[in-house]
């Protein structure tokens, strides 16, 4: 391909056609230094004629800048991480950066370190780690101080800037909402223990119950999947006086709804259910789901902002928090 004998035209080729030196061409392209309008026009014409495209490797070699950022992403279709990625890509593109991704199937100390190393070999100028895991956060503890890395949604203790959604606050909102409806207590189907978000949501839920002085039921552990929510729902349906359940995410809430429907337990009449994330489908569940919305695009945007700040020498300990919003729908509606 392309190796059809012809190599890409270079600055010098353009210069030859335009009858100027290669430096003049460089100046026209980069807008550095003064060039007579007439000369500029000739150069532009030559560029057009040859289909010249600057060689980014040569440019990177001499300037030391590649204009590329790396993102370590969890390989998953989970709504949150995927949306965050787009938010980041968007902000980066607007600022003239390209995004190179390195995905990780299972988050772990070494896999994340590998991905980071991988990206550094690609000569990215900075790295964003989408690290919702406890282990991911821990991997960042070893992040080099001389290279800009920021994390989204994890690693509170890590010596890198972190941006996250206030999961605890979201969980608090959902729990208070359920309590305000007069329920004795609220059950919780939590996400996997090694996810920070799962921990924080559980914490927010627990704190709220304690603050209100109500009994804290045992946590039911899920894995974010609808299947695990379904199983949780089946065991919950066997409980006697069940009245409200807060699911760690919308997928699990869907599983709950399914299990309750099968067990003949009506939502919201017999039990009220709330979720977390506000996936686009949540409004069309049966019944429509009350949930906590996270603005992932905003998260992506602010993450990028934090990274550029850090690349400019900003603080390693910067933190940013995005506040989630409670969306009330029928699953916690009137009976």
């Amino acid at each position: 391909m392309n190796a059809a004998g012809t190599r890409q035209p270079s600055l010098t080729d353009v210069a030859g056609v335009a009858g100027v030196s290669h430096m003049t061409v460089s100046r026209v392209i980069n807008g550095t230094g003064p060039v007579r309008p007439e000369t500029r026009a000739r150069v532009l014409a030559a560029i057009e004629e040859l289909g010249y495209r600057p060689n980014s490797a040569a440019r990177a070699l001499v300037t030391g800048r590649t204009g590329t950022l790396g993102v370590v992403a969890l390989e998953s279709n989970l709504y949150g991480p995927a949306s965050t990625l787009y938010g980041i890509e968007n902000a980066a593109r607007e600022a003239g950066y390209a995004i190179t991704i390195s995905s990780v199937s299972r988050p772990g100390r070494s896999s994340i370190a590998d991905a980071v190393e991988n990206l550094r070999r690609q000569a990215v100028e900075g790295i964003i780690v989408i690290a919702p895991h406890v282990t991911a956060g821990r991997a960042l503890e070893a992040a080099p101080a001389d290279f800009p890395v920021v994390a989204v949604g994890g690693g509170e203790a890590a010596p890198v800037p972190v941006i996250s959604v206030d999961q605890r606050d979201g969980a608090r909102r959902a729990t208070e909402h359920l309590l305000a409806l007069g329920h004795r207590t609220v059950w919780h189907v939590a996400g996997p223990e090694d996810w920070l978000e799962a921990r924080d949501r559980e914490l927010g839920w627990r704190e709220t119950l304690e603050r209100h002085g109500v009994d804290v039921p045992e946590v039911i552990r899920g894995d974010w999947s609808s299947r695990s929510g379904y199983e949780a729902g089946r065991s919950l349906a066997k409980e006697g006086d069940l009245d409200a359940v807060f699911a760690g995410n919308d997928q699990m809430a869907l599983g709950l709804l399914r299990a309750f429907a099968e067990a003949g337990v009506s939502v919201p009449r017999d039990v009220r259910v709330a979720g977390f994330d506000d996936v686009p489908e949540a409004a069309y569940f049966t019944p429509p789901l009350t949930t906590v919305r996270q603005d992932f695009i905003e998260v992506g945007r602010r993450t990028f902002g934090l990274l550029t700040q850090r690349m400019g020498g900003g603080d390693r300990h910067a933190r940013a928090l995005v506040v989630p919003e409670l969306i009330v729908r029928e699953s916690t509606g009137p009976r």
Copy 2:
């Protein structure tokens, strides 16, 4: 950052520490040419000591290879495109390529051309366009012949290799399944007209009805969202003798289920519903959804394969088809 005065160590620095020439270091790193074990050990130690990392720009400049592929992705959380991206990234990483993404918010001739140009400036060695749109396919008609571009899921007429899931066949399977249950006919809630997948699914549905000699009802047009499925469901529920509906994707099917539930129409007793995609949640809808599964990871893998083939000088007109699978669940179950 990093500009702390110290520049990254170079081959020459390593050579100095190891007491050899820079070429010997290069040979150790790349495994080209013979090096005495003892020398290799000294070099390796020096690399370790200095924390040397090869400069990819310099390497790319001299070899003409960047080890990077570009992906033009539609900026969306749609299950299919997102999954495909991961499949591609996976296959690429295994083969030692990095992936740079350039997302497109609205697919159009020029936006896709821009994204491609953008990636070429990043000096990617090949480009994959995830182009489920009609316009995207059209944009590819102008794809340069001297640069390897492949498309996934679109642009049948484009002069680039294309890999796609056999949408028509999937639609046929779903429609036949519904007809086999004894329904008089099958309604269809289609995706947006400018999506190739929507067209093909509609075509497969129509063909099947015609082949069976049954009436072809008017198509109801949606936009992939649950909301549009919901609206379609509301108008369908008003119809008299409704008996089976094939939705263009699972999200719209969810909207249908919701609308039917509200209208007191029972699925599958009063009406049977099938979807397309098999999103992970489909098994937990109320009722669990019969749908057509697409193996997106496989699609990603084969797309990468087609690209490498094309980079090696392969045919511009290669085609690959992935066959989908019907998953039967309660939404088309016994009454």
